[in-house]
């Protein structure tokens, strides 16, 4: 009897929480008009008193409410006067959906074994039921790239809407790009006595580069050759040469950045994006001239000992001023990726400017992922993936979402964490 009681309570309380879990949304039932909000368009422009309309999942109206009369008939109007409206924030280069609890091996699916594995596709392992995406959406991140990690060529990433019953539902664009780590000229080992990473020249650098050269040459030859046996690795590479896939290269120094880009260009790769940190500053003019965009790691990171203390904060602004297109991303503890908007906020304070900072996590992010024709800004014809925040969404004090939409679908923002908040607040209120 007692056991039964416990079971009952357990089931009951579990279902109580379950009820709070966000459900995948229904398709947009009717046209919606967000009226009176401060619209941050994502392309650097702002409309102080805006009209943003969308229907059947697409943006149908972006207007200034103070200007000539706009026909708003047929829209269900939501008054958001004084609130802010943004295109959905986009998180590039994450292991979202591939990793749940990083310390538990069974929940890690981001790093397949092997070195050259462009055929490894994140799309099919993306877990729409992961508990992490709802916590990102809660802060305005509505789109993310899910990316295989590890190895020389890590695999092929896809871009996901943070919404859907399954990965087929959720996918925004499948197989957008191949991720690769350029060999590091410096290797090293960790010295425990001083708790420092000792850098030493990587003796294998040349052979590692050679390995990539032949892999790309072979891929091109495979593409051009008429009679061939099917090769999954080679097949996964072919999109790089016709521009249907982007080559993402992580590089660790200015010299490696230059060499990586030159390599890609020589091999006929159509679209190249670099992933780098402060090293990119030394190669900024090269990147600007070659029109190579850069995905930056956490803005919230530490400088090295001789660097300007604020350099990680200033990096986005400095590169932008140098003419480089940048997008922000997150590395490290996946669950903290929800701070992406605040990375933008810090970068804004340190030289980037607020609207440029918004752009760094919207339109620029869309560009580096090759989805800027679909999302990334509030423009007519694009997907209605956007949200409304009571205050400035780049500031943690005021980031407070009231509405969010993905392809026009109304997103339930409250998730398990909010349910627990309520459950325990109620417990103590009732005590």
């Amino acid at each position: 009897m007692k056991n039964f009681l416990y079971t009952f309570i357990l089931v009951f309380s579990a279902s109580a929480v379950m009820a709070q879990l966000p459900q995948p949304a229904e398709p947009q039932p009717n046209a919606i008009l967000l009226k009176g909000g401060i619209a941050h368009l994502g392309n650097g422009k702002v409309i102080q008193n805006s009209l943003i309309g969308f229907d059947e999942g697409k943006i149908t109206l972006v207007g200034d409410a103070t200007r000539s009369k706009i026909d708003v008939a047929g829209y269900t109007v939501i008054d958001i006067t004084g609130q802010h409206v943004y295109p959905g924030f986009i998180l590039p280069n994450s292991s979202l959906g591939l990793e749940e609890v990083s310390a538990v091996r069974a929940t890690r699916d981001a790093n397949e074994t092997g070195q050259l594995k462009p055929h490894i596709r994140s799309l099919v392992a993306y877990n729409t039921d992961s508990k992490i995406p709802p916590t990102l959406r809660y802060n305005g991140i509505l789109v993310a790239e899910t990316t295989p990690m590890g190895g020389r060529i890590s695999g092929t990433s896809s871009v996901m809407n943070l919404e859907g019953w399954n990965w087929e539902d959720a996918v925004l664009k499948a197989d957008v790009g191949v991720h690769m780590s350029w060999p590091s000229k410096m290797g090293g080992h960790f010295d425990f006595s001083t708790f420092t990473w000792i850098r030493e020249p990587n003796k294998k650098y040349d052979s590692q580069v050679e390995e990539l050269v032949s892999f790309f040459d072979d891929a091109k030859s495979y593409l051009e050759s008429s009679s061939k046996e099917r090769n999954l690795k080679m097949e996964a590479m072919t999109g790089l040469f016709d521009g249907s896939k982007i080559l993402y290269i992580r590089a660790n120094s200015a010299k490696e950045i230059v060499q990586a880009v030159r390599f890609g260009q020589e091999k006929g790769v159509q679209k190249i994006v670099i992933l780098a940190g402060t090293e990119a500053l030394d190669a900024a003019s090269f990147l600007a001239e070659n029109k190579i965009p850069v995905i930056l790691p956490n803005v919230h990171s530490l400088p090295s000992s001789d660097e300007v203390v604020e350099l990680p904060y200033e990096l986005a602004g400095l590169l932008t001023k140098a003419g480089v297109t940048i997008a922000l991303s997150h590395n490290g503890m996946l669950a903290r990726a929800r701070n992406l908007p605040f990375y933008a906020g810090t970068a804004a304070a340190y030289g980037l400017g607020k609207e440029e900072a918004v752009q760094a996590i919207t339109l620029n992010a869309a560009k580096v992922l090759g989805i800027d024709s679909e999302v990334g800004s509030l423009e007519e014809g694009k997907r209605a993936t956007l949200f409304v925040s009571k205050g400035d969404a780049l500031d943690m004090m005021t980031n407070n979402l009231t509405h969010a939409y993905i392809d026009g679908k109304t997103i339930q923002l409250e998730g398990e964490q909010q349910a627990l908040y309520k459950q325990y607040s109620d417990k103590y209120a009732n005590d």
Binding site: F195, I198, R199, L302, S304, D306, V309
Partner: protein, 1007 residues
Amino acid sequence: MKRIILAGCLILATVFASVAQETFPRNDVRDERVEAYALINGTVVVDYQTTIANATLLIKEGKVVQVGAGITIPKGYIIIDLKGNYVYPSIIDPFTNYGLPTEKHKRGKSPWSNAEQIQTTTKGAFNSNQAIKAEYSAASKFSVDAKTAKSLRAQGFGAVLTYRADGLARGTGALVTLSTDRANEVLLNEHATANYSFTKGSSTQLYPISTMGFIAVLRQTYLDANWYKAQSPRPFKDISLEHWILSQSLPQVFDANSWLNALRADKLGDEFGVQYIIKGGGDEYQRINEIKATGAQFIIPINYPKAYEVDDPFEAKDVSLAKMKHWELAPTNPGVLAANGVSFAFTAKGLKSAKDYLPNVRKAIENGLSEQAALKAMTYTPAAMLNATNQLGGLQKGKIANFIITSKPIFEKKSSILENWVQGTRYEFKPLEKVDFEGKYNLAVGSTQFKLEVSGKAGHQSAKIVINDTTNIKLKSKFGEDLVEFNYSPQEVEGLVRLSGWTTDNGWEGKGQLVDGSWINWTATKTGDLDPKEEKEKDKKEEEKPALGEMIYPFVAHGNIEVPKTETVLLKNATLWTNETEGILEQTDILLMNGKISKIGKNLSASGAKVIDATGKHVTSGIIDEHSHIGASSINDIATNSGMVRIGDVLNPTDYNIYNALAGGVTAIQILHGSANPIGGQSALIKLRWGASPEEMKIKGADGYIKFALGENVKRSRNSNSIRFPQTRMGVEQVYMDAFSSAVEYGKKWSSYNGLSRKAKVGALAPRRDLAMETMLEIINKERFISCHSYVQSEINMLMKVADQFDFKVNTFTHILEGYKVADKMKAHGVGASTFSDWWAYKWEVRYAIPYNAAIMHNAGVIVAINSDDAEMGRRLNQEAAKSVKYGGMSQEDAWKMVTLNPAKLLHLDTRMGSLKVGKDADVVVWSNNPLSVYTKVETTIIDGVIYFDAQKDADMDQWIEKERARLIQKMKATKKGGGKMQKSHGMIPKSFHCDDLTVDLNTLNQ
């Protein structure tokens, strides 16, 4: 009396030396020789302060018989003429492993992935800790190593201290000479030193793994030795302790290897009345005042770093400013030590070859060390350290005949060592006398007359025939003491004129053949000296002192040339976040004086105050981080109960994360031990006084704290091979029950002992002092307070129940990510919380962590702080606090208190810090904006009225760093051009600590 004993010893030693020979079997007739030498006409440096010109040095049977000028040479002495040469006592190296077997140790297994070795594996009745190897005697393993001895003698060494560098306590070192006699002859002192270090060497035992653990083991061993010694019969046999006890009367030598460790070793010695001789790291100049204050003698390496390859500006970024500056300033270290009155000896330890020893000493002299001090550090001081001045370090009567003969004064660059005498045995390298033929000669070859000039250093001279100012004929020549050969091509005909001959009183004469084969006589007669060379330019060059960069405190980028001082500061028209009942005050002034908040009000003024216009700016008290791991050299040790280890022993004021934190408005932190153990080490509470010494960083009078930890880390969840108790949360509880109940028993034992009358105490044995138990007792007695790493509700609840049983309160739960589930129980217990804003999902036990945790606990009446546990987050805790406005709707003022007043309360510092209140410490931050805003910036950070960070000064400093780097890079390039040795610019990237980091000193396991 002492002197008599010494004298007696000496006689015994002398007699013993000859008797020792007698005991060995002979395979020939007796062949004892007189072995008496008179070295005459040389310049004898008797010791570092006495030089005698034209001296006579009498040596007999390996000892100095007499030294002085105008001594009559007794009969039977072999006379050696040292005219033009110099005699010095030979060099002593007090820090070698000469003649000891090279042992290869297995690498200790990483505790990350292997089963832990809890017990020592040393076989026999030795110490419970495998790193205590006090029983080792270098003398018992010593054998003469002829090859090494030869190479050391060639560089001027005569005697060395040899010991085995293995373990925390390394046993005794032996004093030996570098003669290649029998070991019986060369061993001067079987037990000359007792040696110690902060590395565990070949020990494969789990504990200790960190410098603070090493210190704790040494402290406990001192206590154990005293307790053991007091008992007769012994409670059990511990050979290591027996030897430890015996060797306490010897010179105690500690291998510290850096100024930081030198201060730590000295502090350890002070506790037990031991003054160590400290083997330094060559970086003592970086903290010379503190080094001087140790009162220790030092053994100083002279292995200056090579210049770095900096041709490529990108790659040069890998070389930090600190490394560059150390490259420049390392050769000044001996001079700085001498100037500050620190007594020191040199060691060749760390040099690639002993060949670099003298050149590097000369380099120290170029950089400010006097020649006398250098000689002292090479001879007298090492002898004095080793209590061997009766035998070594000088050439006074009765001392061992250990000396070297040089061609010129030893510190001149071109001086070379001609001979090295060890215990009266002569080892020759180069002939003493080289006849000097330098001068102008009239050369007559048959009937032809030439002008001949001989030049160069004696032994390496060359000759030429001078035709006129511009034309010379070079001669191929061989000069000997008695014989000479010349060959030359005459101008007129092709072929060689070949002359051979012998020396005369003023030149040479002999016979030779002309080109055509006809025989002639020839003579060369000296007509005078060579014209003096113009050496002005050279002199000038030598006079130029090397231009050196400034010292900075601490010795890393952003260190200050001058350590900032307390100022009177008046901040005008600020928005003050008081954290008091006044709340936020607009347009208000605040005056900081004598390190305290002096006044708060409108229209304040103060004479001599530095006035900062803070109109539009926000001023708050400094951020306090309850959970930080910056500013320490190690974070985790690994004994299940590590209550004896102390972060305060291993503060590292050079951690640049301190400056980063200052730039983020942080003024005080608790450096917590890591979370590898249910009972972690003791914390250190410090203020971020950038540039101060380790001890100056500490907050005086602060309460003691200790880290506890629960859950996955202490169960060693990430090591699937772990066998360490506990492996479950059930076991964790029992660890506490055991520790506290043992501590109660321990306390009883001591109370009953302390309760004895003075008389009764004399006969009674004091209980064994146990450092871990003492710590536990402090907790029970409410003298030390727990900050406990915790995640899930069951374990949180458990620890509170354990504390209840022993009638104390848990002070703080840190991390406490499921605190929201037991906030009511926490409130009832009276424990505070120090949590993350939004961390979760990184391990299994945090999957129900929610960002509302802080708000829920706060609403339930718990004192809540937001902490960092992370150097990066630690510099923007204002942002982390602001997240509670978003998650849980906390008021801005309450959110702000979570990183200021509330951590001050949790650390019992709220009477001194945590709010803007008259009388509190002047720990104040000026912000450009609302401090919780993502857009705000720190403009000024003030601690105790001292401006430690200022945005403008910071920008200037960045420019200075660039300039200083540029200067040093140019200097290194010049060094490269001048043929100096270079090294590749390998970067070192210091990693910042987290709770989980095991700072295992794996490298030294192999030492």
